[in-house]
Structures are given as structure tokens and as C-alpha cells.
């Protein structure tokens, strides 16, 4: 947070006068029309942008925008999901001239973006993961997200081949729908290999709690899990702890293979570069970004880490086959007959929830075979 927040009155006058002259000049100079359009884009992250995780994935996407002519990038890290984010957004808008904002953390949406956006109808707020709907939310707010559960399903297939104990582990932050879908997908991927596999989940209760994440990883491995993945903001601690205990790893958010190249099998990664480039190019061309953007492996919103050296031939084959099927679209991880781990039916025979089904974004159960509880 090293940007200047306060401007003196003189600065303000100078800027205003300058802008007035520029605006006048703009109208007076017809040759300016041919000039390339320019856009200042602002990114806000909840943590450090090199956390090997959620924020790094977004920051890598943002960095890809530098390749586009006319784009200026403004970034701010460690912005809490409190009124602070409103101040940061206002500051980016008023002092940096940002017109397209990417407040990336889930908790920024309600109430913070919803409070700031109506005051700036000409600007655009793009939020990751929120459930935007036309009835309740401002038209200059958009929501985008990727079907990364499919990546966890593929992780599960690789894990299902790698596990000797038939028990795989998942370190999770909070039981919100996106996390639950990842856990369920990881197990169902493994069960596509061997239906006797169980997945143990441990919730830490917080997005970033390194000591608890390390304890959770140790507890999973103590109880026999031999492949571990996670859904926390920074997977570095989970990956290093699990690697130290000799377990195999499936990554999440970003590529963590440099942390343990021999034990890293594969990982579900975000690929925001493509998404952000598309959105910025649409804006530069004078178009409007759709308010509800979703995409998966096929749309290049998510990608898989390159398979590691420990992945066996049969695992590779099943992984590629499943991936090809997902790429065709319409793939359903959650398909009947399927029960949750309390015995309730969540999908009847013949019923299936394809990756694009919005019902999946309000998931509140863990499927049969997952050892854990949502409360």
C-alpha cells in the first residue's frame, strides 16, 4: 500500500485543469481519433500476490495484460475483506483513473462491491466467484468463475491410481459450495478408478492458517492418507508438509511442482491470463463484458499442471481420456445414483448435474465416501 492517498488542493487543481485542457484538445483535434485506446485496470488481492495460490493465480493473469497496448495496471495486495476494500477501490478510481476493476477475493462482493459500484455507473467491476443476478445487483458489476471442480476430478483420477492405502486426503478451508464441489470431485475422480477409495477431509476454518494447515496435513497422513490435495489460499505449507511426510501431492490454484517435483502428480490451476485478456480486449474495443462469465477446461479458464514423473502409464491414459471427455462439454461429475455421506440421495438414477449447472454453485453436502462434515 505504497500509493499516495492524499492529494493536495494544488495537485487537484492542476489535475482538473489538465484534464479539462486534454478534454478540450481531444474534441478540437480530429486526428486523435486514430490513436490507440487506453485503459487503466485495477486489481485487488486479499493476500500477497506470490503465495503459490489463489492470489498468485490472479496476479499472473493480471501480468499477462501488460502485453496489451494501452493498458495500465494498478495492483494492491493484502486488502482485507472489510471496509478497507471499499477505500482501496475508491482510491484506485479517484487517483489512478481506474475504469475496470478486478476485486478478486470472494468476500469483496457483498457488501463492498455492491456498495461502491452504484456510485460509479460508468465504471466496471468484475468479481471472481460471486453469484451475480440481474434482479438484485447493479448492471456494472459482473461475475466470472471457472469450473475448477473438473480439475479436482482429474486430480482424483491420478490420485486414485497413486494411492496404495485407498485413502486420500483433502485440507479444506471452509465448507462453502466451491470447496465442497472440489472435495466431492476429487473423491469421485478417485472412485472412477477404484470405488473402494475414501477421502478424508479436514476443515481448518480459515483461508490462511499455516500452523493449522500443517497440523491438518500431518493428521491426514497419520491416518493413512497417501495422496493429499487442498483448497486453502496458499497451498505451499500443505504441499511442503505432505512432501516431507512422503505423500504424493495434487496441486491447486497454481503449479506447486517446484516445491516437490518428484512427488507432485498434477494440479488444478487457474488460467486467468486468457480470461483477463479477453475482458480487457472487449472493453478496449468498446464492447461490454457479459455479467455472468463461466468457463472450464475447454474454454481455457482452468488448466492442469503437467503430469509428474510418478504418474503411471494407466493413470496417464485414464486422465487423458477423461480430460478429452470433459473438453467436449456437458460432462457431469455429480451424477446419479449418488448419496451424500449421511445417506440422503443427492442425485437419483439418471439425474446428472453437468459442469455448467448453476445448482452446483450452492452445493451443501459431501458425497458418500468423503469422511468429514460440513458443520
Amino acid at each position: 500500500m505504497n500509493r499516495k492517498r492524499n492529494q493536495s488542493r494544488r495537485d487537484l487543481l492542476t489535475t482538473t485543469a489538465g484534464m479539462a485542457i486534454a478534454a478540450t484538445a481531444g474534441t478540437l483535434m480530429p486526428w486523435r481519433v486514430g490513436q490507440a485506446a487506453s485503459l487503466t485496470v485495477g486489481f485487488l488481492y486479499v493476500g500477497p500476490k506470490d503465495d503459490y495460490g489463489y492470489n498468485q493465480a490472479h496476479a499472473e493473469g493480471a501480468a499477462a495484460l501488460r502485453a496489451i497496448d494501452g493498458v495500465t495496471l494498478v495492483e494492491e495486495e493484502n486488502v482485507p475483506e472489510t471496509v478497507d476494500v471499499q477505500k482501496s477501490m475508491e482510491s484506485m478510481i479517484n487517483f489512478d483513473g481506474v475504469t475496470l476493476l478486478f476485486p478478486t477475493s470472494f468476500g469483496y462482493f457483498d457488501p463492498h462491491i455492491l456498495a461502491v459500484a452504484p456510485d460509479h455507473p460508468g465504471l466496471r467491476f468484475q468479481h471472481c466467484g460471486g453469484l451475480w443476478n440481474a434482479g438484485d445487483h447493479p448492471a456494472n458489476v459482473g461475475s466470472y468463475f471457472g469450473y475448477i471442480g473438473m480439475g479436482q476430478y482429474l486430480n482424483g483420477i491420478i490420485a486414485g491410481h497413486a494411492t496404495a492405502s485407498k485413502k486420500i486426503g483433502f485440507v479444506a478451508a471452509k465448507p462453502i459450495p466451491q470447496v465442497l464441489l472440489n472435495i466431492n470431485s476429487f473423491l469421485l475422480g478417485a472412485r472412477a478408478v477404484d470405488p473402494s477409495i475414501a477421502c478424508q477431509v479436514i476443515f481448518t476454518g480459515e483461508w490462511s492458517m499455516p500452523v493449522k494447515e500443517a497440523e491438518a496435513t500431518n493428521a491426514l497422513i497419520d491416518q493413512g492418507a497417501d495422496v493429499v490435495t487442498c483448497h486453502v489460499d496458499g497451498p505451499k505449507v500443505v504441499m511442503e508438509t505432505a512432501a516431507g511426510r512422503g505423500a504424493y501431492l495434487c496441486g491447486y490454484h497454481a503449479n506447486q511442482s517446484p516445491l516437490a517435483p518428484e512427488q507432485y502428480l498434477t494440479g488444478a490451476e487457474w488460467n486467468w491470463a486468457k480470461v483477463y485478456q479477453d475482458m480487457v480486449e472487449t472493453t478496449l474495443a468498446g464492447g461490454t463484458i457479459s455479467n455472468f462469465v463461466r468457463g472450464g477446461l475447454a474454454e481455457n479458464f482452468v488448466k492442469m499442471s503437467p503430469l509428474g514423473p510418478a504418474v503411471s502409464g494407466p493413470a496417464r491414459k485414464q486422465f487423458e481420456a477423461a480430460k478429452a471427455e470433459i473438453m467436449q462439454g456437458g460432462f457431469a461429475v455429480i451424477r446419479g445414483p449418488l448419496k451424500d455421506n449421511r445417506g440422503n440421495v443427492v442425485a437419483t438414477e439418471g439425474q446428472s448435474f453437468v459442469e455448467t449447472d448453476v445448482a452446483l454453485e450452492s452445493m451443501d453436502y459431501l458425497v458418500e465416501g468423503v469422511i468429514g462434515s460440513t458443520s
Partner: protein, 309 residues
């Protein structure tokens, strides 16, 4: 649950033992540092900042030099410096040590975040552990008994400090400075100097606690590494009634209670994990209520502490 997995209930006490050993070390070092500082009559609430700064300095130095032990040394040095700043500022007239401590806590965290940026991604060498579980076939037992050298050092230090306070000239000097400045001055002891040294040494211990966090468990530097452990450790000192050996007990209790949540979930007892995570705090509250008395002041509180004066 439809099918109950094979519940290995023995795993829980074992995980708690392992957790107590793994998680307690930062609590132990910070609470020993605070114990030493407070026995000399000064409160240092800034040790949370020192812990975070120590974690960052230790990790950075270990990464740059390739030696985890040099990292520990650098963390101790950073802690000493921060403790000394607190000591120097507090000896000025009419300076409140609580306010200064909070300011230094925020400064320490801010400095650590600022200088720690380039060290979030790199992997630094870890501190070695001694495998006391070599006799066992079970990997769980082996992991639980993989004891870091710093933990053993902390245990030894707790006993040594207790002995120092009871039986040595230095210990008695620190105690008299902490209990009555007037008496200390009458004896010809320089109270300011003693407090400054005790505060600096306390800071060094907190710095070492931070190095344990980033260099052994969980073993990497990031901005959420402490999650308030330094503050809890300061509170532990009151809980331990300013006795170093009881600080060791309290730190172990907190470590073990912290491991309860993940351990219970891992054996399939998953309902209400939020409550298990609150266990350490409930435990503290319960013990404080049980040991408090309406008829006397906090037993063992040094007389010159700003909170008991």
C-alpha cells in the same frame, strides 16, 4: 455417517502429543521471553511483532546463507534489537509500556511484510529434528516423536530460567527490580539497565520462536504465519503466573489443544470442529476462573508491572 471407517482412537492422544511438541515451541519461546521481561517489571506486548519479524528475518537469512542456524541467529539478533528499542523507549519518563508495545507490534509486522515480500516463494533450508521415535515401527509414533532441537533448547531454558530466578545473583537482581524499584535502587542496582537488558533478551527469545515457525513448523515464510500466537503467548505468562516451568506446561497444553481439532477430524469425529478449534481458549478461561481468587491479587505478579501497580 453411512459407513463408519475404522476409527483409530489411539491416533488422537498420539496426535495431541505430537502436536504439543510441534506447535508449542513458538508459544514457549515467546512466553519465556515475556516472562523474563515482566519479571524485570516491564510489559512487552510487542512480542507478536517480534515473532513475525523473527520468522521473516530467520527465513530470509537462512535462504541467503543456506544455513538454518544462521537464520536462527539472525532472528535472535532482530529480536534483541526490537526488544532493546522497546527498552530504550520505555525508560523515557511518562512513557506507557503497553502503548509502546502495541506500536512496536504493528511496526514489527509491517517491517516483516515489507522486507519479507521476496521470501514468500523461495524454499529455505529447515532446522534439523532428532528422531526419538526410531524404536517404533509406526510412522505415526515416529512423526510424533520427531523432536526439533529448538524445542529441547526451550525446555532446558525454562528450567534454567526458573533456577536463575530462584538461586542466582542475576535472577535475584531481576526479581528485585521487578518487584520494587525503590528497594533495587537502595541496593545500588541500576534498574533501568537491568530492565533494558531483560527486555532485549526477551525480544531475542521471541525472535527465536519466530525462526522456529518459518524454519521448522510449518516451515515457510508467509504473512499469515503467526496468526496471533505471539499475543496468546504473552497471555500465557499471566496464566503461568510468571513461572518459567509453568510456561513450558502452558505452552504444551496450548499446542496439544490446538492439535485436537485436526486430530479428531482425521479419525472421523467431524461434527462441530469449530468447537474443537476453540478448545485452547475455553481451557484457558476455565483454568483462569478455577485458579482465581476474590480475596487476593494475582499470585506471583511482579510488583512493578504497569498492570499490577
Amino acid at each position: 455417517m453411512a459407513s463408519m471407517p475404522d476409527v483409530d482412537l489411539w491416533g488422537v492422544p498420539l496426535a495431541m502429543l505430537g502436536g504439543a511438541i510441534r506447535v508449542s515451541t513458538p508459544f514457549l519461546f515467546v512466553s519465556l521471553g515475556e516472562c523474563l521481561t515482566e519479571r524485570a517489571g516491564r510489559v512487552n506486548l510487542g512480542l507478536e511483532g517480534t515473532l513475525v519479524l523473527g520468522a521473516m528475518t530467520g527465513y530470509g537469512a537462512a535462504y541467503e546463507t543456506g544455513s538454518a542456524w544462521l537464520g536462527v541467529g539472525a532472528a535472535a539478533l532482530a529480536g534483541t534489537l526490537f526488544g532493546a528499542v522497546h527498552g530504550v523507549v520505555c525508560r523515557l519518563p511518562r512513557v506507557n509500556d503497553i502503548a509502546t508495545g502495541i506500536a512496536l507490534m504493528l511496526l514489527g509486522i509491517g517491517l516483516a511484510f515489507f522486507f519479507g515480500k521476496p521470501y514468500i516463494q523461495p524454499v529455505a533450508p529447515d532446522l534439523p529434528a532428532i528422531p526419538f521415535g526410531w524404536w517404533s515401527e509406526s510412522p505415526q509414533v515416529r512423526t510424533a516423536l520427531n523432536v526439533n532441537v529448538l524445542f529441547l533448547a526451550g525446555c532446558a531454558l525454562a528450567v534454567a530460567l526458573a533456577w536463575m530466578f530462584r538461586a542466582t545473583r542475576i535472577g535475584l537482581t531481576i526479581r528485585v527490580v521487578g518487584d520494587s524499584s525503590d528497594a533495587a535502587r537502595a541496593m545500588g542496582v541500576r534498574t533501568h539497565t537491568v530492565r533494558l537488558l531483560a527486555t532485549a533478551a526477551g525480544g531475542a527469545l521471541a525472535g527465536v520462536g519466530g525462526a522456529y515457525l518459518s524454519l521448522y513448523y510449518p516451515g515457510s515464510w508467509n504473512e499469515g504465519i503467526s496468526s496471533g500466537q505471539g499475543l496468546m503467548a504473552v497471555a500465557l505468562v499471566i496464566f503461568a503466573r510468571w513461572n518459567p516451568v509453568r510456561c513450558l506446561g502452558a505452552a504444551l497444553l496450548f499446542g496439544g489443544a490446538g492439535a485436537l481439532g485436526p486430530a479428531l477430524q482425521s479419525v472421523g469425529i467431524t461434527q462441530g470442529y469449530h468447537l474443537f478449534y476453540a478448545a485452547p481458549y475455553v481451557l484457558t478461561l476455565g483454568l483462569l476462573v478455577a485458579t482465581s481468587s476474590p480475596t487476593r491479587a494475582l499470585a506471583g505478579a511482579p510488583g512493578e508491572l504497569s498492570i499490577s501497580r
